[in-house]
Amino acid sequence: MACERYVGALADVAAGAPAAPGVEAHLAACEVCRAELQTMRHALAMADAEMAGLATAEPTPDLAVRIRQAVARTEPSPAWRFGWLWPATAAAATLLVAFAVFLVRGTPSAPEPRVAVDAHRPQSTGSTRATGPDLATSRSSAQAERRGVRSPGGSPRTRQAGVPPAGGTLERQVLVPAGETEALLRFVAHLRTRVVSPDSLLVADLSAPLPEPDGVEIQPLVIVPLDPAETSGTD
């Protein structure tokens, strides 16, 4: 193994550079590094011998013919100059159709649940979507609910689902229990942004009695008096 600090310098010398005075002196004194230099020179000679074949390598005799034929095959035909028009037209037409489909299908076709938050507020008909004013009213109702304001009738701000408005058809409606208006509004907002589908709203049977929890016993709270000596915190 050559002296590690001279490996780079030895490679320089092997590659043809003159040896620096310090390297020359070291080579004169170090047999191992002299042998390493010889090894490097031998390695380069082997590499040169392997690469030397490039100088005399000849392609197959028909390479020039193949090149001429390949060039001839790529000569433009008379129709080539305007040949790009067809793909371009097809691409433009495809884009137009895709845009039209996007416009048509971008409007939601499935009815969204209507939020009914005020039993005394007249409902609009002809639309199954929760409209802007509806939402605004709902938001103000939710704010009022948070402030503890009750509806004029003193009841929670809910209305019966399934009751058709006067002169209108039955709309898909949602019964909103008191205190849950805000959660439902968030759900409607998710529907509008299509994060969820309307089917993901689970409808509970509100007329069924709530199941009684079984097997739950609440132990009486036992208050253990504290020992002042243990809790004084002083030594």
């Binding site: 490097m40 000849e58 392609p59 090149i67 060039v71």
Partner: protein, 188 residues
């Protein structure tokens, strides 16, 4: 392999040259196709691939020939394009790195034993890997130096570089090869 199968090559748009230019291009094909082949062979070490690359390089040359009429300029351009295309092909298809006994005309072929032939193939493999591991600037200088039999002036003309730059790069390349291959030589 047909060039059409090489997915990593950009398409070559056809052009039409006037008859005088076509004649000049024919002359370039005649006197430079071997150079393009050797450059590609220096990278790929497979004759079939090298010929495909040479053909592809000339297709591109045909497209740009109107601005490449000067012979020296054309050869320099061709060398760069062939080298680049060969690198692309080598990178794009590593499965095809099997070496071919194509570089050296081996005078011992037929007389060496199976063990000697295997050792030579191993040596060729290792030398090829060491050259492949060089940075591109050093690699093309190494390949061209082998093709031009270490005529620095010729390499400089082909690369359109000053001779001093070529000498410096060639020295760096040989130094790197000496360091990489010394273990190989110590075992022979």
């Amino acid at each position: 392999m047909l060039l059409d199968d090489a997915v990593d090559f950009a398409p070559v748009w056809p052009v039409t040259l006037d008859p005088a230019l076509e004649r000049e291009f024919e002359e370039r094909v005649a006197d430079s196709s071997t150079l393009a082949f050797r450059v590609a062979l220096g990278v790929l070490r497979r004759r079939e691939d090298a010929e495909d690359v040479a053909q592809e390089a000339f297709l591109r040359a045909h497209r740009a020939f109107a601005s490449l009429r000067d012979r020296e300029r054309f050869r320099a351009w061709l060398v760069r394009v062939a080298f680049r295309l060969a690198l692309d092909r080598q990178r794009g298809d590593r499965r095809r790195l099997r070496r071919e006994d194509a570089l050296a005309v081996d005078p011992r072929a037929g007389s060496e034993s199976v063990e000697e032939a295997a050792a030579r193939a191993e040596l060729r493999e290792r030398v090829g890997e060491a050259v492949d591991a060089l940075p591109e600037k050093l690699r093309i200088v190494t390949v061209l130096a082998a093709i031009q039999e270490h005529d620095v002036a010729s390499v400089a003309r082909l690369l359109d570089l000053p001779e001093g730059t070529v000498k410096s790069r060639l020295h760096r390349a040989r130094k790197a090869l000496a360091e990489k291959l010394r273990w190989l030589a110590s075992g022979t």
